[in-house]
Symmetry: C2
Subunit: 290 residues, 2 copies
C-alpha cells in the first residue's frame, strides 16, 4: 500500500506544470494542497479496481491522479471564507491562508482543469486508447459536476443551520462524497476494460463504502468531542446542523455502518479476482479512528 | 450570424442539467451568466473554422459550447470580491451580487466541469469520434489551465498597481485572452479533421486577432473615458495599471492593431475555402465601438 501511495504521489507531481517564472504562484498553490497529506483513498480505489478487473495499475494511474486532483480542488474551494471558512486542514493552514483568496480560487480552478488535461493526456491515451479516455473523462465530469459533487455542496450550504432528515442527508452525501468515490472505482474498471456487470458491482461497493465513510465521520465527530472536548451530545453547538448521529443516535449509526460495510464486501462477489485488499479497505474505513 | 448565435444559445441551454429541486440554485447561477448577453465570439470562431476546414458546423457545436462555458466560468470567478471585485458586467449585476459568493464559486466550478462533460458527451462522441473528442478536450484544458488562461490571470493579479512593459503585457494577454481564442479556432479545425498546416494557420489567425482585440480594448477604455467621463490620459487613476496605450500611445496602438488584423487575414490564405466571414470578423474586432 505504501509503495502504491508513493507511486501515486510521484505521478501527481509529474503532472503539475513546470515553473517558468510567470505562473509560479499558482503552481505553488496547486502543489501545496496536492501534497498536503491526503490519504489518497480515491486513487488507491482506482488502481485496486483496475487490478481486480484484470488491468494494469500503471495504465489507470493518470485516471487515479485526475480523481485526486478533483478531490483536492474541492477541498481548496470548500475551505474558502465564502464557503466553510476554514483556517486549517490536516493540521496545516488552508490554501487561502497561505496564498490568499485569489490564488486559492485560481489554484483550485487550475487543479480542476488539470484533472481533465491529465485524463486526456498523450500518456493516458497511449496507455488506454481514446474510447476509454472519453468514457473516463465523461464519468469524472458527471460525478464532479452540478449533478454530482458540486450539487452535494449546494445542498450542504442550503442545509446549514437547518434541521434536515436522514433522507436529505443521504441525498447530500451520495452527491457530495459518494459521487467522487464512485468515479474513483469506475475509472479503474474503465481502464481495465471491465464489463457492465463489473461496473455495476464497483458502483454498488462505492455507494456502500461512501455512505459508511460519512456515517463513521459523523460518529467520530461526536465521540472525539465527547472524549477530548467534553461537549455533550445534544448541546446547542452540536444541534446546529443535522448529522446521522443527531438523527439516528450512535448505536443505530454503528449498526448501519456495519451493515453497509458487509454489503459493500458482498458486492465484491461479482469479481473472480482477489478482492482481499478491497475487503480490508472497507473494514478499515469503518473501523478508523481520527 | 444571428441564426448561428441562436443555434449556439439553444445548444448551451440544452447542455445545462435539468432542475430537480435539490440543485436548482447552482443551475440558476450557471444559467444566469451563460445567458447574460455574451457576444459568443469564441463559439462563432469554432463553427466558422469547422466550416472553413470542410466540416459540419453541427458536429463542432458541442466543442463551441464547451469553449463558451469556460469563458463564462472565468468571468464569474474574475468578478469575485477576492479577484476584480466587480458589481456589474454587461449592464447586469455580476453572478455573486445575485446569488452570493459561495454560489458564484460553485456555479463557476460547475460550468468549468460541464465544459468537459459536454466535449466528452455521447452526443459529441457520436458526431466527432473518440480521437477528436480527446484531442479537443486536451487542447481546451491546456489553453484554459495554469499554462494558459489561468496563468494569464495570475500574471494580471501580480501586475496590479505595478508598471509593466509591453513584453509582459503581451505574455499576459497571450495567456489570459489569447489562449482561449486559440482553443476556439483549433477546436473547429479538430472537429473538421483539419491537417497540420490548417491548424497552424488557425493558430496564427487566433494569435493576431487575440492581441488586436486586447489592444483595441485598451484604446476603447481611454477614448470612452475621454469622451464620457472626461478623465485625462495620464491621470493617476489611469496610471495605476499598465496598458498598451500607456506604454505605446494611441497612434502606435492603432497602427499595431491594424497590422495585426492584416496579418490575421493574411494567415487565412492557407485555406482554400471561403474566408470572407473570418476576414470581416477580424475587421469588426478592430473597428468595434463599446
Amino acid at each position: 500500500m505504501t509503495d502504491r501511495i508513493a507511486l501515486i504521489e510521484q505521478a501527481l507531481s509529474g503532472f503539475l506544470p513546470e515553473k517558468d517564472g510567470d505562473i509560479d504562484t499558482v503552481i505553488d498553490s496547486m502543489n501545496y494542497s496536492l501534497t498536503a497529506g491526503g490519504k489518497r483513498v480515491r486513487p488507491v480505489l482506482t488502481l485496486e479496481f483496475a487490478k481486480l478487473c484484470g488491468g494494469e495499475e500503471k495504465n489507470a494511474l493518470p485516471f487515479a491522479c485526475a480523481v485526486e486532483m478533483i478531490h483536492t480542488y474541492s477541498l481548496i474551494h470548500d475551505d474558502l471564507p465564502c464557503m466553510d471558512d476554514d483556517d486549517m486542514r490536516r493540521g496545516k493552514p488552508t490554501n487561502h491562508k497561505v496564498f490568499g483568496e485569489a490564488q486559492a480560487v485560481l489554484g483550485g480552478d487550475a487543479l480542476l482543469t488539470l484533472a481533465f488535461e491529465t485524463i486526456l493526456s498523450e500518456n493516458a491515451l497511449k496507455l488506454n486508447g481514446a474510447e476509454k479516455c472519453v468514457k473516463a473523462g465523461r464519468i469524472l465530469a458527471e460525478c464532479a459536476g452540478a449533478e454530482g459533487m458540486i450539487g452535494g455542496q449546494i445542498i450542504d450550504i442550503e442545509s446549514e443551520e437547518m434541521s434536515v432528515g436522514v433522507d436529505r442527508l443521504r441525498i447530500m452525501d451520495r452527491k457530495k462524497t459518494g459521487a467522487l468515490i464512485k468515479a474513483a472505482c469506475l475509472l479503474g474498471c474503465i481502464s481495465a476494460g471491465a464489463d457492465e456487470k463489473q461496473m455495476k458491482a464497483a458502483e454498488c461497493y462505492a455507494e456502500k463504502i461512501g455512505l459508511a465513510f460519512q456515517i463513521v465521520d459523523d460518529m467520530l465527530d461526536v465521540t472525539s468531542d465527547e472524549t477530548t472536548l467534553g461537549k455533550p451530545i445534544g448541546s446547542d453547538e452540536q444541534n446546529k446542523k443535522s448529522t446521522y448521529v443527531s438523527c439516528l443516535g450512535l448505536d443505530e449509526c454503528r449498526r448501519i455502518a456495519d451493515e453497509l460495510t458487509k454489503n459493500a464486501i458482498k458486492s465484491l462477489d461479482a469479481f473472480s479476482g482477489d478482492t482481499c485488499e478491497l475487503r480490508i479497505f472497507a473494514e478499515k474505513l469503518r473501523d478508523r479512528n481520527k
